[in-house]
Symmetry: C2
Subunit: 361 residues, 2 copies
């Protein structure tokens, strides 16, 4: 065992990823491997013109979820969705999933049934199959899913394909999952404060709570792109917030970007939550994460097709790398946009309540 002890906290968000890539640098490299560590999923040739993508993502009790918040069926559904979202980010469609579960002893058979039912529901929605797994006892509930997907080689999209002049776009609406988390945390506090007098106030927040607890991956948009003849130049899924994801695309593509804050798409319910808590709604979208929408760039000549699609918003532009990643709003003008939605492994700090995973696919 090494005598040195350097805390993980000293590595930044990209530190763990870079460390892994470095330690694995001199492995044999197959000609069939097109993309390894560094995108939403690995990509390799599967035969003929078809590529397969492979991704893995875990949900850990006490880190990514609180079992008292989330029904088991939603948790099963979410565990599949967060992985399918990585497949969608490659412009691919999912085929097969395996699941590895660590089960604490206070889990009942009924809870496991709920978990499997949620996974089955998600597999049906995404038209894919659960083909294998592994389960053990564990101290906390741990769900790790891996998914194999497929995409024709002419359709595959990476994080690294954005060019200066491209438009930056996002599917659906953003910030809702974080708004849902706020409502749930607030309700938990009310429950603690009021005890037996507590009455749940969730009816006005059904949409944002569902965004948090039962997100859907945008495979429908992958199909819509194909139908409309659109191929994004780069793409990533919004798991850690727009700020983090734009920085990933910029870093991998060697470009800069500007996000126009007034163009960010919000659901009215998300706005209502931000108003209720006197929060800046932009922060929900930029730093909140877990929306599982697709952030992508397009060639300017495709902008009419994207407009015609509906359900997509143009939120910015790709620029020279020297300009960095910036946000622009009428109130503040241009300002640097760092991926500081959640600081991972911050020195001396306790972990934030949720969503401190570092995506290294």
């Amino acid at each position: 065992m090494s005598e040195q002890f350097t805390p993980i906290a000293t590595l930044g968000e990209f530190g763990l990823i870079d460390r892994m890539v470095e330690r694995l640098a001199d492995l044999p490299r197959s000609e069939d491997l097109i993309e390894g560590i560094g995108d939403d999923a690995a990509v390799y040739r599967a035969g003929g013109d078809m590529l397969h993508v492979l991704t893995t993502d875990a949900l850990i009790e006490g880190v990514h979820f609180d079992r008292s918040f989330i029904p088991m069926q939603f948790l099963g559904f979410k565990s599949i969705s967060v992985n399918v979202s990585d497949v969608a980010a490659m412009n691919a469609t999912p085929l097969y999933a395996t699941v590895s579960i660590g089960m604490p002893r206070n889990l009942s058979v009924e809870m496991i049934d709920g978990l499997y039912d949620g996974m089955a529901e998600a597999c049906k929605m995404y038209n894919m199959e659960l083909v294998g797994g592994d389960s053990s006892t564990s101290h906390a509930l741990y769900i790790s899913i891996s998914i194999v997907g497929q995409v024709h080689e002419r359709d595959v999209v990476f994080r690294r394909g954005a060019s200066v002049g491209d438009y930056l776009c996002v599917t659906g609406d953003v910030g809702g999952a974080y708004a849902g988390l706020k409502v749930l945390l607030d309700q938990r506090q009310a429950q603690i404060d009021l005890g037996d007098d507590y009455e749940p106030e969730l009816d006005a927040h059904q949409y944002v709570i569902r965004r948090q607890l039962r997100p859907t991956a945008r495979i429908d948009m992958v199909e819509a792109f194909r139908g409309a003849g659109i191929k994004p130049t780069s793409m990533i899924d919004v798991s850690d917030g727009i700020a983090s994801e734009v920085n990933h695309i910029a870093r991998r593509s060697g470009v800069g970007a500007t996000v126009r804050i007034p163009a960010l798409p919000f659901d009215p319910e998300t706005r209502a939550v931000a108003d209720q808590y006197l929060d800046e709604i932009d922060a929900y979208a930029l730093f909140g994460g877990e929306d599982y929408e697709l952030l992508f760039t397009i060639n300017p000549e495709d902008v009419d097709k994207v407009d015609a699609l509906q359900g997509c918003s143009v939120i910015g532009n790709i620029e020279e790398s020297s300009k960095g990643v910036r946000a622009m709003s009428p109130e503040t003008g241009l300002m640097p946009l760092h991926p500081t939605g959640y600081q991972h492994f911050e020195p001396g700090e306790e972990p934030p309540e949720f969503n401190i995973s570092v995506d290294e696919d």
Copy 2:
């Protein structure tokens, strides 16, 4: 949330697997999927005559390993090996791996480096690549690996292919990993009892300790089979002990089997450990597990080829299902052989120290 609470303990070893299969029964089924849940790995068409296999397996601190026993580099190596072993069991070779790690905060950067170095060492040995991953903070160290492998469709081997009259064989030697565990547990007790006077006594047990802490998957035998023109009729890897694995083959193939106890192959160091502790050595092989050898069946006409290979032992015969799974020794004669190496989720009991995973691939 369901109002019923049925403890997981009420499900037997096959209970969790059957439960999962049942909950997922009405999912769409792709024509390209050849084998789903129920073998060492899932198998699907990848293009042309090539099949891909997909498997996942996790190692959890306090369940599968004790961090005070195992150097991080060995743990990284083992985490890859146990998955490659499932690929080997399909007569396939590994291509790509993803890793999902839950890291407790008391892990250092040096420990993570050791873990990655061990994974890199294993990837080199098995000629495969680590192509993606995911890491989060966690309460205990949790390592889940998924591997994609390949095999020509004429070469793939399942658990379900054994026929009456086939010979039952095993690669290498068995029981060593359990002997290593015994030595390590004994040394831990000595350390507790003797305190500062403790001096490690490990030199005489290097082989068995390595079998426990740094097992290798028998991809070399998959290649040897191919070279010798041998195609096993069924195959499984020895992760839970011979007794459990023979029962898996028998159950899936619809046959019975007899294991000839005197034919079980042991290393002299394994024998020495069993003698030292006055243990029945047969139990190490039958119920110990974690040897990661290959248990397989062959057509009788291939027996000369298997003998010529070296490093394989014929240990029994496949019989009619009505005869069940049995063991035979001169001392006891014929007796039923149940897969009771480790009882999983036993009612009211504490978990055994190690290796209580339930393989559902």
